[in-house]
Symmetry: D2
Subunit: 148 residues, 4 copies
C-alpha cells in the first residue's frame, strides 16, 4: 500500500516533536525523524552528539532503534524533517535501513520533508541502488519478518 498524505502528516508531527530533544554540542543542526511500521505505528528520533567522535547518532537510527526496542521491525517508511531544505538520510542511515528491507522485502519509502508539510518521496532502492545485503545472515534476518 502506498504511503498516504495522512501517514506523512503523522510522521511529520512526530519528527517535529522529537527534533526538539536533539542533544547537540558539536553539530550545528537539529534533525528529527520518524518511522512508520506496516501495522501503523510511528516512532520518533532526534540526532544525538557524542563526546567521542564515533559515538554520535543520526535521528534516523534513533527512530529505527526506538521501533526495534518496541518489537517492531516491519518498516514501511522513514521521514527526515528539516526547516528549509529537503534532506534525505545519509548513506550510513540508508545502509542501516537496508537491514529492515532485507528482513521484510519491502522497498522502504524515504521521505524528505519540510516543516511546512512539503515533501519529496523516494524508494530506498533509488537512493542506494547498490545496498549491501548480507547473504550469510539472510535466514536469520527473515525470522523477524513474522515475529509480530
Amino acid at each position: 500500500m502506498p504511503l498516504t498524505k495522512d501517514e506523512i502528516n503523522l510522521m511529520i508531527k512526530t519528527a517535529i516533536e522529537t527534533e526538539k530533544n536533539a542533544f547537540l554540542f558539536k553539530s550545528k543542526h537539529a534533525f528529527g525523524s520518524a518511522v512508520l511500521t506496516t501495522d501503523g505505528n510511528i516512532y520518533g528520533g532526534c540526532n544525538i552528539d557524542g563526546v567521542i567522535s564515533s559515538q554520535g547518532s543520526c535521528a534516523e537510527v534513533v527512530a529505527l532503534n526506538n521501533a526495534v526496542a518496541n518489537g517492531k521491525y516491519n518498516i514501511k517508511a522513514i521521514l527526515v524533517i528539516d526547516e528549509n531544505e529537503f534532506v534525505f538520510p545519509c548513506g550510513s542511515c540508508l545502509q542501516y535501513l537496508g537491514q529492515f528491507f532485507q528482513t521484510t522485502n519491502i522497498d522502504i519509502e524515504v521521505v524528505a520533508a519540510k516543516v511546512n508539510g512539503e515533501c519529496k518521496v523516494k524508494k530506498l532502492s533509488q537512493l542506494l541502488p547498490t545496498l549491501y545485503l548480507s547473504s550469510s545472515f539472510d535466514f536469520k534476518l527473515k525470522k523477524y519478518r513474522n515475529k509480530k
Copy 2:
C-alpha cells in the same frame, strides 16, 4: 538520593521486557537495559545487530538514546540484565554514559542484574576511572542540565 530496591526492581522489569525485542543475527546473546532519570522515568533498550560491522548497538546505548529522544538527560542509574551472570556495561557504553555525567555532574549508578533480582551496584567513576571528558564542549553539555 541513593538507588532504592524498588527503583532497581522497576528497571529490571523494563529491561526484561525490552530484552525480548533484541534484533540479533550475529550476536549469540540478547541483552536488556534500562535507564532511570532523576525525575523517576524509566526507558528500556535491547541490543541490535548491524549487517555492517560498525552499525550494531548495545542495549545500554539504545536505552540512553530512548531517554534523550524523550527529552531526558538527567540519568541517575543504568541497569543491564543477564540470565546467569553479572554483566557491567562495556567500556564503550561506560564512555557514552560519561557524557550524561558531564551534563549533570551526577556519578551515575551502574547495576549488573540477574533475572532473579540479584544485583551488583557500582558507580561510573569506579568502572571507568579515567573517563574522557571534553573540556571543549563542557559549557554546551551543561546547558542541558536545567533543560527539563
Copy 3:
C-alpha cells in the same frame, strides 16, 4: 584524469595482500580494499570485527583512515575486492567517502573488482546520489585540499 588499468591493477594487488590480514571472528567474509590518491599513492585496508557490535570496521574505512594517517586526503579512487562477485562499498562507506569528495571536489571512482582482475567502475555520485554534505563544515574541510 581517468583511472587507468595499471592503477586498477596496483590497487587490486594491494587489496588482495591486505585482505589476508582481515581480523574476523563474527563475519564470514574477508574483504580487502585499496585507495588511490591523486598523487599516486596506494593504501590498503581489510575488515576488522569488533567484540562490541558498534566497533567493527569495513575494509574501505580502514584503507581511507590509513591514507589519512599518512597525511593524504586527495582520494581519486577506492576499490573493493571479492572472490566471485562484484561488491560495491556499503552505504556507510559511500557516505564516509563523501567527506573526501567534499574536501577535494573530485567525484571519486569506485571500483568493484574480482581477484581475476575483472572490474566494474562507477562514480560516487552514481552510487549515492543524495550524499549528505555538511555546509557547516565545508570551509574547514576544504582547508585540507592544499595541505599536501
Copy 4:
C-alpha cells in the same frame, strides 16, 4: 617483558608525527597515538572526524587498525600523546583494546605521554576493570594468537 624507556620514546616519536595528519573539522583537539607489538613494530594513528556523527575515529583505533591491516594482532602497548596533559584512551578505545587482550592474554600497557617525554603507564586491567569479554567468540579470537 616490561615496557622500556626506549620503546616509549619510539612510540612518542611515531605518535607526534602521526598527530600532524589529524583530520579535524568538528573536534578542537588533535591526538596522536602509537601501538607497539610484541615483536617490536610500531604503528601510528591520528584522530579523524566524520561529517556524520557516528563516523569519526579516535587516534587509538586508527593506530590499532593500522597494526591489524599489517597483520599484527599482538599488541604490547598503546600510547596517546597530548601537549600539556596526561590523557588516557577513552572507554570506547579501552574496550576495543580489550579484543586484542582477549586474543593474546597480554595485559596491555597503556601510556599517557606529553610531548616533552613525561609519561604515566597503567595496565588495561586497571583502566577498565570490568572489560567486556566475549565468550562466544573466544575461540576464534585466540586463533589469531599464533598467526604471525
